[in-house]
Subunit: 314 residues, 2 copies
């Protein structure tokens, strides 16, 4: 990596001709059974190790099928952590394999902490970590993701270490601003005395935190998470954060359509990536004409359908 | 477990006669070198595996030394995740060993997500997870913690799955309300149009979310994180959330003293646990008269000192 994260992301979107982010959220009960059976076969493995191996095999199938047509993947770490350290092993392998296939990886981990704790997360996800090996010090990446999602309830203290690693390693982050879920307004929509809303204020903070770290594209390494399910708020936030790339969840399974994501983009048709998870990776369960064994082909078809849908508004 | 989380916690505090929470934040560069050398000896292990083994050995030494005099430990997952899946293995072992020694475990993970993603975290940390093993379904705990820290920027959607697991497994949670760090005010102190501040509103939300799940002690399974470094806000929040147990960071290394934590307690001297991490686990580097090999004894002495300090105000 030797190019600013935002530039790499914008270039990948332009090269692939679409802003699709495939959410790698591998719920075990929806993974085809032939994969799970193979993960157990002839081995005396723990159930968590077998679950992790199933996830790896499934993800590789998805990645192989879509890597040439989409720019970004976003593995949600909850679906890996649920199998403990074996699941985290699958998370590491998923990131590595995605990058090997030319994909940009957003580690969806929504980490949030302060001081040396935030620095530990930042090094693990976006940078490198010092260890020892016999007499020698070793410095090595751990997750080695291209970017991470963050929650800034704790203010700049929790963000700064990630900006520092991003400068060193050309990585980036997406900070929760206005999330896609029904209760996102509990806190985010509260009206402030001397400004607009909490989410609007968070947008201003995100814009200022990224102001010093722009790429040649004019975009910052500090992006924002803005849900597709609240288009009018997205329009407002696009004005507040012109230099931030938006990561947009909520398309597809959560109810957002192409018209809903349009306000997340700038006039040049850039500045956002749109995530779909279940709608793509488990498309074999929903699209006609695909058997279980064709889960990869089905995912590819779902990406093509999504690309065509998004093209109607971009 | 068959007793409400809050009751278990209150009883443990009463039994041990102090509200100390030992933060198990094992920074590798501060772990005594004889432990790290032993972790590498005679083995052909990866640096991350050796780091994880060092953490386990160090934590066991601390736990053995303090388990009979303190009620609670809080391993901060960042210091484990920094070594990837091997580090997460050390996290699992640390939780298990702590519970075996009679300690209540707060998994300091500050997780935050929605819907099925939040449910995955809740099952992994506070409940049990379904897997398969050959023909059979297996249901097993993964982290099996007694409680977890959470960030509620996403509203009740991100909290509900944890309340559900807590009801089933007698576990609990601590939601970030007013954090101890310098920039906690960036968002938390913003004044609202129709209420007080963001942190005050968050306090009201936490109180309402826990209202249906009180133990016999009168405390809820939904607790709050309130930093020792902001005593006047803590006083205000104690009134807003009379039924929530406070997890209080910021004592010791971060600058909070006994007088600062006092407002976090109710009049009965209960309702809060006070965390100290570096000040206890790395006491061998600061207290006089301890060698590296005596890191456990030094930690025990630091707990005794802290207990005496807190006793002056409780």
């Amino acid at each position: 990596m030797a190019k600013h994260f935002a530039d790499r992301l914008i270039e990948a979107v332009q090269k692939k001709g679409n802003p699709i982010c495939v959410g790698l959220d591998p719920r075990l009960d929806q993974i085809p059974s032939f994969i799970k059976e193979a993960a157990l076969e002839g081995k005396d493995r723990s159930p968590t190790a077998a679950a992790a191996d199933s996830i790896i095999a499934f993800n590789k199938g998805i990645i192989d099928a879509v890597a040439d047509i989409v720019p970004v993947v976003k593995p949600q770490i909850a679906f890996y952590e649920i199998f403990g350290h074996e699941g985290v092993r699958a998370y590491e392998e998923t990131i590595k394999y995605s990058q090997k296939k030319g994909l940009i990886v957003i580690a969806d981990a929504k980490r949030n902490d302060i001081g040396s704790t935030a620095a530990a997360y930042a090094q693990a996800f976006l940078g490198e970590v010092e260890m020892f090996s016999g007499e020698d010090e070793v410095v090595t990446p751990i997750f080695g993701a291209d970017s991470i999602t963050l929650n800034a309830y704790l203010g700049i203290d929790g963000i700064k270490p990630f900006i520092e690693e991003s400068r060193k390693y050309d990585t980036g982050m997406f900070i929760l601003v206005k999330t896609s879920n029904p209760s996102s307004g509990d806190l985010q929509d509260l009206e402030l005395k001397e400004a607009d809303s909490v989410y609007n204020m968070m947008g201003h903070l995100v814009d200022s935190w990224g102001a010093d770290d722009l790429g040649e594209s004019g975009y910052s390494c500090v992006g924002a998470v803005v849900g597709a399910t609240y288009p009018s708020q997205a329009k407002e936030l696009r004005r507040v954060m012109p230099r931030s790339i938006f990561l947009v969840p909520g398309y597809g399974a959560q109810g957002g359509g192409a018209a809903d994501v349009k306000p997340c983009f700038n006039k040049d048709g850039l500045g956002a990536v749109v995530n779909s998870s279940r709608g793509i990776i488990f498309a074999y369960q929903k699209l006609d004409g695909f058997e279980e064994k064709q889960f990869g082909e089905a995912a590819r078809q779902a990406c093509i359908n999504m690309r065509e849908d998004l093209a109607t508004v971009l």
